[in-house]
Symmetry: C2
Subunit: 186 residues, 2 copies
């Protein structure tokens, strides 16, 4: 499977990977157990601190691992991992080791104990910073504390979920910089 050469990436700029709205793989670990879930309900919330909000249903095996460990890694896959994306979203970590089942490689994080998925284009190490909407909405607010991203390709081919088994693959870039005010080019 494709391997990437990765570098540290500025945490205040991770919106580059998340704001376009790709499906992500969220990895977690707690007391010897680890898991991966497929997740499409996320949003950037702030540049610095680098905040991301995620809806993680309490029906997921990952819910308790993340809630108890207060950590996770948000991994951004490209389209060649679509079978893993769908397979992980249609199975339960209570019944299998998803890393083994889906032939994915654990990599060690710098700031969290949750494993990074080596085969993903970008890996965002996250710590839970606000738990107050978990009970009502399953809504976790994370701070990205360390980010790793592939040096190439410049524009990853991400997958975006529409529901009912249908995805959209990311298309061409569109440069509109000339129409922006300089101060808006963050």
């Amino acid at each position: 499977m494709r391997k990437y050469v990765k570098s540290d990436f500025p945490i205040e700029k991770v919106r580059r990977f998340l704001e376009p709205g790709p499906v992500v793989l969220v990895s977690s670990a707690w007391q010897g157990a680890s898991n991966i879930m497929t997740l499409g309900w996320h949003t950037v919330m702030e540049f610095s601190p680098s905040l991301v909000g995620c809806v993680i249903s309490s029906a997921n095996h990952s819910f308790d691992l993340i809630r108890r460990s207060k950590q996770c890694v948000i991994n951004v896959p490209e389209v060649h991992l679509i079978d893993q994306v769908v397979g992980i979203g249609n199975s339960s970590g209570a019944e299998m080791d998803k890393f083994a089942e889906f032939k994915l490689t654990r990599a060690a994080g710098a700031m969290v104990k949750a494993p990074l998925i080596a085969e993903c284009f970008a890996n965002l190490e996250c710590k839970l910073v606000d738990a107050r909407l978990i009970q009502k909405y399953n809504y976790f607010i994370f701070e990205v504390v360390k980010a790793h991203a592939a040096r190439a390709p410049k524009y990853p081919r991400t997958v975006h979920y529409r529901g009912e088994g249908m995805f959209m693959i990311s298309g061409p870039p569109l440069n509109m910089r000339r129409k922006f005010k300089p101060e808006m080019l963050v």
Copy 2:
């Protein structure tokens, strides 16, 4: 400019439009004033009630209109509106009527007083249902109470923001239904 023929759309299925992560145009009105803002920081939060979370910076003129009226409309533009998307995001409603400036047409909502943008592919009428994260995170939780969507095209060409003036245009569909468990095909 392109006009759509629209139908009512099931509110519990609006993830179809939002989960892929497009930039949206949020329209609002309060005491005779109306405005439009460009927004990329949003996530679906629940199917039913149909909940959507949005980060709306307090630096925006729209912030007070939405906070006070407790309403907005989330409008999904296609790529042919890119000049409006960028222009609206790089100007302030405190200084202009954005509907007039950007040649967009107000349409009346069924459930909210905020105007719909007729030129957008989909229009989601929203009411504010949870304000508790507004002060700390500028985070608004809305319930979609009425949805309107164009009957065609089946796959809108949406735009997705990467930051620094760069967008991604939505690409081809990818049907993975055969790999889903039946109960996961929501």
